[in-house]
């Protein structure tokens, strides 16, 4: 059995990469992928906790989160398609209408 501590470390690593990517990248699809990384980092954390406590609840949550992430991707991609239709671009720098 893998030590849950390593799983947590991997989770933290993934989260950091995801957050860094979301902050720095322009391409909307890449940002979406980074958000997926963050989600999966959370999933890994659930799994680590489940292993730690020997409780199945964490696994169940992880599966739920994966299902939600899938639908989120569908919505996200649909938004990007619409965005492309409007702006001919999916660069986040070109989309800044939602402001004061």
């Amino acid at each position: 059995m893998i030590d849950p501590a390593w799983v947590s470390v991997l989770s933290a690593l993934l989260f950091t990469i995801g957050l860094w990517g979301a902050f720095t990248r322009k391409n909307a699809i890449v940002v979406l992928m980074c958000l997926e990384l963050i989600l999966n980092a959370a999933n890994l954390q659930f799994v680590a906790a489940a292993i730690q406590h020997g409780d199945a609840t964490g696994w169940v949550y992880a599966i739920f989160a994966i299902a939600i992430a899938a639908s989120e991707v569908a919505i996200g991609l649909a938004i990007f398609l619409a965005m492309y239709g409007q702006h001919e671009s999916i660069s986040l720098d070109d989309v800044n209408l939602l402001k004061h």
Binding site: L92, V95, K99
Partner: protein, 747 residues
């Protein structure tokens, strides 16, 4: 609390219908108003229904007939009350927290001599003035298509007056009192397009409101003492014996201030002259014959308090105040009437002065009633005051209608003289022109009308004689009674010398200003071309004038029927003690051959100054023969000739007086209006500015500070929304961090 009543229940069948005296006109109000809206301008409505006048008339006749039946019934049975039903019941949890206390406000009528007398005056005059209005209002082009409003308000007003008189509690009295106040406002402001009329309406409403506030305070105090406002409770001598005399005097004093406002006495008199802005029938009805009597009625209603044995000697101060206010107003108003040029204004001030006489008479009567051993005189004094109310209402109603007749015909004549070419054009614009260039109410534009308007001139002559108290005519009997009783009290209580002297002086002044008015209007030569073309032509108007002339002249019969004894003493029935002839002999003896030397002299002094000095001076100044070839009726021609002779022989130049400061002050109504305006400006406006500043600075200030600071904060916060998704993600992350940090700190 308190025992109810030694007032017997009336059981006769008719009293059940007495409520219709009030209800009929009240129900006619919406009917006339809505029919008027519906058929406005319709030819049948204008010609056959007289824009509501012929709907109101049968109603008023019915009210009058019902009143007469009630009066006849009453004379047969005596004082009583009739309970019609509960009006309002309510309960509240009592002081012990356990029981429910209940209070029932009933509707009922209360009938005694005072009620009956005023009921007759009100219903009779309402009916006659309705007839007059049909002549006066419906032929005036300026009123086209809005007379239904006049008649609707008129009947509502009548129901207010009749209801007030019939009410069986001070609560209902107050309700109807306010109904009259409202109608008065509406009717004075009938010509609302004229700023002066709108102003006068407001002034009348607000000035009487000042008095009404005190009336409410008085009623609340009365309620506190007796636990009820029903006459059956508050007039019960046992209940009166249970209350504190000082408190009762205060309550009655407060109510008296209400009466002062309603009856236009000093210092709340300023509204009455301005109220002449209303149409003349309104002046006749409200400001001479009925509404101003409401205040007198209220004071007359206080008689049982003063007559109660338990209060003997305790309320004389209030009686003095009532008489003193009356005395001051009598002289002041008469003095102002000296210099008025407007026909209606003279009558307005005369009304104030005569009402003041009645207040003085009531004050004397109340003093006598409150003094042990004088009750015998109290009845007569009270009767004299009420008799003067009767005589004055009849005479003044007639005088106002006669003045309306003069003004109306002056308008017509002016129209004929100046608008011959476009005679058919009755447009409003023309009518307004009249007001601008020609004052049809100014006596300076009249003169010599006696031969041209015989009915009006006769009515005016008889009315003036009644007001002046010329021997044997109308007001003579009652005025002598008031003066004599004021002096009777003055002999006992030296304070009363003030009102007693005032009413005696007032008699001479009345003689002067009433004669001046009649002579300036009807004697001498016409002062303008318009006055030469005046002639009586309007239908309906002569009917009430002739009727009231005879009523005023027949006042001597009422005196012979011992009206003064009857109207004040509920135990006294007409003719019960003396027949008409014996009664007349008794009255003549009593007045002209009084066995008491003081009153014998006083009577002749009063007659001398009132009937000779005053009119003599007026004749010397304003008398004059008619134009060559003109001749008045046989009973007026000698007076005009006499005035011309006096004017020739004794005429004197009064221009020094006319330019004096006093004369100017009188023309300015002794500056009361100015003082009040200034006081209002300084006091009320100052207070209003203070309130406005508080509102702006403190209340608005707080709200505005909150508003502006939150706006500033939000302006700076919204800079954070850059529109860049990256920033939002950053903020979300930071937010999570902050929440995490907070949880760390808290847990």
């Amino acid at each position: 609390m308190g025992t109810t009543t030694d007032i017997p229940e009336i059981t006769s069948s008719f009293t059940e219908y007495a409520i219709f005296i009030v209800l009929l006109p009240m129900l006619a109000f919406p009917v006339i108003l809505f029919l008027g809206r519906l058929f406005n301008g319709n030819e049948t409505w204008v010609k056959s229904a007289k824009e509501g006048g012929l709907i109101a008339l049968p109603i008023m006749v019915a009210s009058f007939v019902l009143s007469l039946i009630l009066i006849v019934e009453f004379i047969g049975s005596g004082t009583g009350s009739y309970y019609i039903g509960d009006w309002l019941n309510f309960g509240w949890i009592g002081a012990d927290g356990m029981t429910i206390e209940e209070k029932v406000f009933g509707v009922g009528i209360y009938i005694d001599h005072v009620t009956v007398m005023l009921l007759f005056v009100a219903s009779f005059l309402c009916m006659l003035i309705n007839i007059f209005s049909i002549g006066y209002m419906n032929t005036d082009p300026v009123n086209d298509n809005r007379n239904h409003r006049f008649y609707a308000e008129f009947v509502l007003f009548c129901s207010g007056m009749l209801g007030m008189v019939l009410a069986d509690s001070f609560l209902w009295l107050f309700i109807f009192w306010e109904l009259m106040g409202l109608c008065s406002y509406l009717l004075i402001g009938f010509y609302y397009e004229r700023p002066s009329a709108a102003y006068a309406a407001k002034k009348a409403f607000l000035t009487t409101r000042v008095g009404d506030v005190f009336l409410v305070i008085g009623l609340v105090m009365l309620w506190n003492m007796f636990g009820s406002l029903d006459y059956s409770v508050v007039f019960n001598p046992d209940n009166i014996a249970a209350v504190d005399a000082g408190e009762l005097q205060m309550a009655l004093g407060m109510m008296f201030i209400g009466a002062v406002g309603k009856s236009a006495q000093f210092p709340l008199h300023v509204w009455l002259p301005d109220a002449m802005e209303g149409p003349t029938p309104v002046s006749a009805l409200i400001h001479a014959a009925t509404m101003v009597n409401a205040g007198l009625y209220l004071v007359a209603r206080m008689f049982p308090f003063f007559g109660a044995p338990a209060m003997a000697g305790e309320l004389v101060d209030l009686a003095f105040i009532i008489a003193a206010i009356g005395g001051i107003t009598a002289v002041m108003a008469a003095a102002i009437a000296f210099v008025q040029d407007d026909l209606k204004k003279v009558l307005a001030y005369s009304t104030m002065s005569q009402l003041a006489y009645i207040f003085t008479g009531l004050g004397a009567a109340l003093w006598l009633a409150n003094t042990p051993g004088m009750e015998k005189y109290a009845i007569v004094a009270f009767g004299a005051a009420l008799f003067h109310l009767f005589n004055h209402a009849m005479a003044k109603g007639m005088l106002f209608m006669a003045s309306g007749s003069v003004i109306h015909e002056m308008h017509h004549a002016h129209h004929d003289v100046h608008h011959h070419d476009d005679h058919d054009d009755h447009g409003d614009d023309h009518h307004d022109d009249h007001h601008d260039e020609f004052d049809a109410q100014s006596m300076s534009n009249m003169g010599g009308l006696a031969s041209k308007m015989p009915i009006t001139a006769t009515a005016m002559l008889v009315g003036s004689a009644s007001i002046m108290g010329l021997p044997l005519i109308g007001g003579f009997w009652s005025k002598e009674g008031i003066i004599a009783n004021a002096w009777r009290v003055a002999l006992e209580d030296p304070r009363f010398f003030l009102p007693a002297f005032c009413v005696l002086l007032g008699a001479a002044m009345t003689g002067f200003y009433m004669s001046r008015m009649w002579l300036k209007t009807f004697a001498g030569k016409p002062k303008t071309e318009v006055a030469e073309h005046v002639h009586e032509q309007t239908p309906w108007i002569p009917i009430p004038l002739v009727t009231l002339t005879f009523v005023t002249l027949s006042s001597v019969i009422l005196a012979g029927m011992m009206f003064t004894h009857w109207s004040s003493d509920s135990g006294y029935a007409f003719f019960s003690e003396k027949g008409l002839i014996d009664g007349l002999i008794y009255e003549f003896e009593h007045v002209f051959l009084n066995s008491d030397a003081f009153f014998f002299v006083l009577t002749y002094v009063a007659i001398f100054i009132g009937a000779i000095v005053g009119p003599g001076l007026a004749m010397a100044l304003y008398g004059g023969a008619l134009k060559e070839g003109e001749k008045a009726k046989g009973w007026m021609q000698p007076i005009i000739n006499l005035s011309a002779r006096v004017n020739e022989k004794r005429g004197f130049d009064n221009s020094a007086w006319a330019d004096s400061g006093l004369s100017v002050a009188l023309k300015e109504r002794l500056y009361f209006d100015k003082w009040y305006d200034t006081a209002m400006l300084k006091l009320v406006a100052g207070f209003a500015v203070l309130c406005a500043t508080f509102d702006r600075k403190v209340i608005d200030g707080t709200i505005k500070t909150i508003e502006s600071s939150s706006q500033k904060i939000s302006l700076s916060v919204r800079k954070l929304t850059t529109g860049s998704a990256r920033d939002y993600i950053m903020m979300a992350a930071l937010g999570v961090l902050v929440i995490y940090a907070m949880l760390e700190v808290m847990i």
